[in-house]
C-alpha cells in the first residue's frame, strides 16, 4: 500500500485528535424528547423521528483532504453521549475528564449543558435507571458481588454485522420493501398488524432520514467546492457530493461509492443509539471484490486511488472511539476500541476459498495504516492458502496484535448447530472479540460476563460474599462440609444454576425494555427479516436472535478445582481447615502452602488430563445451565468464553484462591491458561484448550504470547501456520498471538512516552499499551513467553 501525503496527514490528525465529550447529540435528543410531537408518537415512530431530528440538526463535518465523509460528532474523536441509555452525572464527567487512562476531555460548555439542560430532563428516566429499578434484590446482590456484569446498562444491544445484502442495494429499494410489507399486513388474522405498521412506518422514516443526511453532506461539499482554490480538490469535492447524492439512496457501483455507502450506514447505526461493538462491515474483502475487479478491468480505478480510498476509510474508524462508560463497565472493557472487526478470507457462500486479491490488499492496508481501529482478523479454512496466512503472520510479527486467526470450519459448524442454514453460516464470521454470528441475518447479543471462579468462592463459603457482606448465593454448606470432590461439584452446580437463573431472568426483562422503549428502526433496516416480519431488531425481528452469557475464568477455576481435588481429596496433602485459613490470610504465613499450590499441583494448559478434566466439567455444567434457555426475543441463550478485560475486574472482587493466586489479582482470560502456569509450550496449551467442546459455544478466545524470535524465517512461519491449523483441526475457534518481549513491555511501563505507538493484544482486541491500567500491563508482561 502506498500511503499518500493525504492519507498520512489524515492518519496523523486522527492519532493526534484528543478524545472529547460532545454534548451535541445529548442536547438534540433532549430537545426532541421535550417537543410536543415526541409525546404523541408510538415508540418506534418516536425513535425514528428522533433519528431524523439528530441527522437533520447535527453539524456536518468535512475534514480537509478526506475522500469519505461523515463524523458521529462535530469533529474527529468528539464523542457523543446517549442520555436515553445512561446519563452521565457531573461527577462522571469529571472522572472522564481527569482519569489517566481512556479519558474524555469535558469542557465547561459541555458541563454547563449537562447541568442545565441534559441532567434535569433525563435524571431518573434513562434506560439504565429503568433497568436498575426493575431488577430483583437477588440480581442486585449477585451483581454487586461481582458474579456477572450487565452489558445493556450503558450501551444498547448491537452485536451485529452488515451482510452482503446491504452492499448491493440502496435505501430507495429498501423503502419499496417496506411499502410492500405494509401492503401485505393482515389486519384480520394478525393481532400484531397495528404494531407492525407502526414499526414499518418508523423504518420508512429512518430510510428518508439517512438519505437526507447524505444530501446534507452533499450540500456542504458543494458549498466547499465553490470556495476551493485548488482545482483538483474542487473536482474531488464535487465528485464526492455526487456520490453522497447517489448513496446510500441507491446501490453503490464503485469502490468509492461502496465505502461511502457503508460509512453512512455505520454512522446511522452509531447515531441512532450506542450499540455494542459499534457496527461492522464484516467480510469486507468479499463485498469490495466484485466492484474492485470491475473497476480495475475497465480502468476507472488506479491502485494509488484505491490505496487513498482505503486509507481514508480506515481513518474514519479510528476517529470514533467507543462511547465513554462509567462505573463497573469502565473496568470491564476500558478501551477506546469499539470492537469493529474486519473479517478477511474464509469461504464463499458456495463453500469455495474466499481469499481474493482484495484480501491481500486489505492485509496490506492493515499493515501500513497501523492504527487501533478498525480491528482485523483472518478466517482460516482448510482450503485457505498458506501464502495468505504467512502474509498475516508478517503483520502479527510486528507485535501489533492484529490480525487474529479464526477457524472458518468451526464458525460454520457452530452456526449450523444453532440451526442456521448453510449459506447463512458460510456468510458468517466473528465480530467484536471472537463472537460467532450470521452476518446480515442475526442479532447476537452479549448480555454480560459471568464470573465462574466467583461461584466456586461462594460455594466454599455457604453462598456468603464476604466483600459485600451479603448472602448472595444459596446456603449449600462450607468447604469442610463437602466430604468428596463430587459433593463439592454438586454444590457448585446448584450455586451456578441459581446465579444463571438470576442472570437470565434479568436478561429477559432488560431485553423487553429495549423492545418497549428503545426500538432501533434504522438498524432494523440492515438485518434480514426485520422488514419481512414488521418487527424491530430489538424485539426479535431478525432471522436469528441469540443471547450470550460470556463465561470468564475457565483456566482459573480449573486450577482451583484441580488444586482442591489433588491436594485435599485425592492425595490428602492438606485439610480444608488449613486451606481455608491460608485463603483467609491471603497466604500470609502460608507461603509454603502457596508454593505447593502453584508449583507442585497440576495446572490447566499443560495437556495434563488430571487438570483438564476439571475444565471439561466446568464447561459442561455451564453449558447445561445456559444453552437453549429462551430469551425474550423468540431466540435462546447460549454460551461463549471471552473476557475482554473483565477478568481483571472479576479478579478484583475475589479473595485468595486455592490455585495459589493472591487476592484481587486478575483471573485467567478467555480459555487461556492462568498467566504463567503453562510450562510445556504452545502445543500443550492448544491440547488443553481443545478439550472443551468449542463447537457448542459461540466463540472462545485463546491468547498465546510469542517473542518475535518465533517469526524469524519461512520455516518458522510454516511451523506457526501448522500450529494454527493443528488447533483448528481440533475444532479450536480462535487463536491470537501477542508478539512482544517482556523487556520491551517493562521498558514501556517505565518510559511510556517512548512507546506511544505500542499496540498489544489484550484479549480479543488490541490496545495501546499506554492506555491499559497498570495491573493489566503487569499481567501482559507476566503471561508466559514461550522461549
Amino acid at each position: 500500500m502506498y500511503i499518500s501525503p493525504r492519507v498520512k496527514k489524515l492518519r496523523q490528525q486522527s492519532l493526534d485528535a484528543v478524545e472529547k465529550i460532545s454534548a451535541e447529540r445529548a442536547l438534540l435528543i433532549t430537545q426532541f424528547y421535550k417537543s410536543d410531537e415526541a409525546r404523541e408518537l408510538s415508540a418506534p415512530v418516536k425513535r425514528a423521528r428522533a433519528f431524523e431530528y439528530l441527522l437533520k440538526n447535527k453539524k456536518i463535518c468535512i475534514n480537509e483532504g478526506e475522500l469519505i465523509v461523515g463524523e458521529r460528532g462535530p469533529a474527529p474523536k468528539e464523542t457523543s453521549t446517549y442520555p436515553e441509555i445512561s446519563l452521565h452525572s457531573l461527577k462522571d464527567l469529571e472522572i472522564l475528564d481527569s482519569r489517566e487512562k481512556v479519558f474524555f476531555k469535558v469542557d465547561d460548555e459541555v458541563k454547563n449543558l449537562y447541568k442545565n439542560e441534559i441532567i434535569p430532563f433525563w435524571k431518573g428516566k434513562s434506560n439504565r435507571d429503568r433497568i436498575m429499578s426493575l431488577m430483583t434484590p437477588e440480581w442486585n446482590d449477585a451483581y454487586n458481588a461481582g458474579l456477572f456484569t450487565e452489558f445493556q446498562e450503558q450501551r444498547a444491544p448491537g452485536h451485529t454485522v452488515l451482510g452482503y445484502q446491504m452492499f448491493s442495494k440502496g435505501f430507495i429499494s429498501v423503502k419499496e420493501e417496506i411499502r410492500k410489507a405494509i401492503e401485505s399486513l393482515d389486519y384480520f388474522t394478525d393481532n400484531q398488524a397495528f404494531e407492525k405498521n407502526e414499526e414499518l412506518k418508523a423504518m420508512d422514516i429512518a430510510c428518508d432520514a439517512i438519505i437526507m443526511y447524505a444530501f446534507r453532506n452533499a450540500d456542504a461539499l458543494e458549498k466547499l467546492a465553490t470556495i476551493e482554490k485548488n482545482p483538483e480538490r474542487k473536482n474531488e469535492l464535487l465528485k464526492m457530493a455526487g456520490i453522497c447524492r447517489k448513496v446510500p439512496a441507491n446501490a453503490p457501483d464503485t469502490v468509492h461509492e461502496m465505502l461511502q455507502h457503508y460509512w453512512f450506514i455505520h454512522l446511522g447505526v452509531i447515531t441512532e443509539l450506542n450499540p455494542w461493538d459499534s457496527f461492522n462491515p464484516g467480510r469486507l474483502d468479499q463485498h469490495l471484490y466484485r466492484v474492485y475487479k470491475k473497476e480495475i478491468e475497465s480502468g476507472t480505478l488506479s491502485t494509488e486511488k484505491l490505496d487513498d480510498l482505503l486509507g481514508c476509510f480506515w481513518v474514519k474508524f479510528n476517529n470514533h472511539p467507543s462511547p465513554p462508560k462509567m462505573g463497573v463497565t469502565a473496568s470491564e472493557s476500558n478501551t477506546y476500541t469499539d470492537f469493529c472487526l474486519i473479517n478477511l478470507g474464509g469461504v464463499t457462500s458456495e463453500g469455495a476459498d474466499a481469499v481474493n486479491e482484495m484480501s491481500y490488499i486489505l492485509l496490506d492496508v492493515i499493515k501500513e495504516m497501523r492504527i487501533l481501529q478498525p480491528s482485523s482478523m483472518i478466517q482460516i479454512s482448510k482450503i485457505t492458502p498458506d501464502r495468505f496466512i504467512h502474509k498475516a503472520l508478517d503483520i502479527i510479527k510486528t507485535g501489533f496484535g492484529q490480525p487474529s486467526c479464526f477457524n472458518t470450519e468451526a464458525i460454520i459448524k457452530e452456526l449450523l448447530r444453532q440451526g442456521k442454514n448453510i449459506v447463512d453460516a458460510r456468510n458468517g464470521g466473528a465480530s467484536g472479540c471472537v463472537e460467532t454470528g450470521a452476518f446480515g441475518t442475526e442479532a447476537f447479543w452479549l448480555t454480560g460476563y459471568f464470573n465462574l471462579p466467583k461461584v466456586l468462592e461462594l460455594t466454599l463459603n455457604n453462598g456468603f460474599d464476604k466483600r459485600t457482606n451479603k448472602q448472595a448465593g444459596l446456603q449449600t454448606g462450607y468447604a469442610h462440609d463437602y466430604k468428596s470432590f463430587d459433593d463439592l461439584m454438586e454444590a457448585y452446580k446448584l450455586q451456578l444454576n441459581y446465579f444463571i437463573d438470576i442472570k437470565i431472568r434479568g436478561n429477559n426483562v432488560i431485553e423487553r425494555t429495549f423492545a418497549g422503549w428503545l426500538p432501533v428502526p434504522f438498524l432494523s433496516l440492515l438485518v434480514e427479516d426485520c422488514i419481512l416480519n414488521g418487527k424491530d431488531y430489538n424485539s426479535g425481528g431478525a432471522r436469528y436472535n441469540t443471547s450470550y452469557i460470556q463465561g470468564v475464568g475457565l483456566g482459573s477455576i480449573t486450577d482451583m478445582l484441580t488444586a482442591i481435588k489433588y491436594n485435599i481429596y485425592d492425595n490428602r496433602k492438606i485439610t480444608w481447615d488449613e486451606l481455608t485459613r491460608a485463603l483467609e490470610a491471603d497466604f500470609a504465613g502460608f507461603e509454603q502452602l502457596q508454593h505447593e499450590m502453584i508449583y507442585n499441583t497440576p495446572k490447566y494448559g499443560n495437556d495434563d488430563d488430571y487438570a483438564d478434566n476439571q475444565a471439561v466439567l466446568v464447561f459442561e455444567i455451564y453449558y447445561d445451565a445456559v444453552n437453549g434457555r429462551p430469551n425474550s426475543r423468540g431466540g435462546v441463550h447460549r454460551i461463549n468464553m471471552l473476557p475482554t478485560t473483565s477478568h481483571v475486574y472479576f479478579g478484583s472482587v475475589m479473595g485468595a484462591t486455592p490455585d495459589g493466586r493472591n487476592a484481587h489479582l486478575p483471573l485467567s482470560e478467555g480459555i487461556s491458561p492462568f498467566q504463567g502456569v503453562d510450562h510445556n509450550g504452545p502445543t500443550s496449551v492448544i491440547k488443553s484448550a481443545s478439550r472443551i467442546d468449542q463447537l457448542r459455544t459461540g466463540g472462545t478466545l485463546l491468547n498465546q504470547k510469542f517473542s518475535p524470535s518465533f517469526f524469524e524465517d519461512e520455516d518458522s512461519y510454516s511451523n506457526l501456520t501448522a500450529l494454527i491449523r493443528s488447533y483448528f483441526s481440533l475444532d479450536g475457534h480462535h487463536i491470537q498471538f501477542n508478539v512482544v518481549n517482556a523487556g520491551t513491555l517493562k521498558d514501556a511501563q517505565q518510559h511510556p512516552e517512548r512507546y506511544r505507538d505500542l499496540i498489544v493484544r489484550v484479549a480479543g482486541y488490541s490496545d495501546y499499551f499506554n492506555d491499559l491500567g497498570e495491573d493489566l500491563q503487569n499481567e501482559i508482561i507476566r503471561r508466559t513467553e514461550h522461549e
Binding site: E591, G681, I686, S718, N719, L723, S726, L730
Partner: protein, 266 residues
C-alpha cells in the same frame, strides 16, 4: 529398556524440519567448552537446587536432573503431539548429550517409533562406532551432524576428544542415502579463522552427496551460562563474545558456495 533423558521439548522447531518433539539424552563423550547443555554431559544421576519464585520470595528444593523413559513412554508423548507433527511434517528428534551413548535404547526406540509412522532424527556429535551408526541408519530419516573442527588437536583441545572417528562416521552417513543436516557451531577464536573456514568449506564440498540437505551455522551464545552456575561447573569461555549478526551473514554467504542451503540457527 529405559533411556535416561534430561529434557523433553515440545514445539521444538530448531531440531529438524517441522514441529518436533526433541528428547535430550543424558551423557556425552565430548565436553565442548561452549556446551549450552552442560547438564547433559554426565551420564550419571545428578541433582540440582531448583529455585521457584513467588514475588520476591524464593523457594529452594533439590531436583533430579533426568528421568527414565521407556520406548512406550516416548510413544505416548508423541501420540499427544501427533496432530502437530502430522500437520507440520515434523517428527521426533533425539539429541543430547550424545544419543548414541545409550545405543540399545536408542536403537529399540527408533525402530518402534519408525514403525508407528513418525519421522525420526538423531542429533549427533558423530562420536560413536561405525557399527552403531550403521545399525540405526534404517530407522533414522535424518541425521543432524555436528562438525566442530577439522584439526585433530584443536578438536581435542576444545572438546576433549580427537575428531578422526567423527569424520569417518560422517563419510559413512553421507553415503547412506539418509538425509543429513550439518551443524557448525560458530565459536569466535576457535573455528572461525579464515584458514579453517576454507578447509571446512572444502571438506563439505568434496564429501557432498545428495544426502546433504542443509548446513546450519549456530552462532555461539551465552544462554547456557546460568546453567553452569547452577550446576557449579566452571565456565571456560567467559572471554568469548557471540558473533555479530553481520558476521553470521558473511559466513552464510561464504558457505553458500558449497551449493547447499545454509541457515543461521537450527
Amino acid at each position: 529398556m529405559e533411556g535416561f533423558i534430561f529434557s523433553v521439548k515440545r514445539y521444538s522447531i530448531n531440531d529438524g524440519p517441522g514441529i518436533r518433539v526433541a528428547f535430550f539424552m543424558k551423557g556425552c563423550p565430548l565436553s565442548c567448552m561452549w556446551c549450552h547443555n552442560p547438564e547433559g554431559i554426565s551420564p550419571l544421576k545428578e541433582t540440582v537446587i531448583q529455585t521457584n519464585r513467588i514475588g520476591t520470595r524464593e523457594f529452594h528444593h533439590r531436583e533430579d536432573v533426568g528421568k527414565y523413559y521407556s520406548a512406550e513412554g516416548i510413544l505416548e508423548i508423541l501420540e499427544k503431539e501427533k496432530v502437530f507433527l502430522n500437520q507440520s511434517n515434523g517428527g521426533v528428534t533425539f539429541s543430547g548429550g550424545e544419543p548414541l551413548l545409550q545405543f540399545d535404547f536408542l536403537h529399540e526406540t527408533l525402530k518402534i517409533i519408525k514403525e508407528n509412522g513418525y519421522h525420526t532424527a538423531v542429533d549427533t556429535s558423530g562420536y560413536s562406532t561405525a557399527e552403531k551408526f550403521k545399525a540405526i541408519i534404517p530407522y533414522t530419516d535424518l541425521f543432524l551432524f555436528d562438525l566442530k573442527h577439522l584439526d585433530e588437536d584443536k578438536h581435542k583441545e576444545f572438546t576433549g576428544i580427537p575428531n578422526g572417528v567423527i569424520l569417518d562416521n560422517y563419510r559413512i552417513l553421507i553415503e547412506s542415502g539418509r538425509d543429513i543436516m550439518v551443524r557448525i557451531p560458530v565459536i569466535p577464536g576457535y573455528n572461525d579463522d579464515p584458514d579453517h573456514l576454507k578447509r571446512l568449506r572444502q571438506f563439505l564440498t568434496e564429501t557432498k552427496t545428495i544426502s546433504l540437505k542443509k548446513i546450519s551455522l549456530l552462532p555461539y551464545h551465552k544462554i547456557g551460562l546460568s546453567k553452569y552456575k547452577r550446576f557449579n561447573i566452571p565456565y571456560r569461555m567467559k572471554q568469548t563474545e557471540p558473533p555479530s549478526k553481520e558476521r553470521m551473514k558473511e559466513l552464510k554467504e561464504y558457505f553458500s558456495e558449497t551449493g547447499v542451503k545454509i541457515k543461521i540457527g537450527g
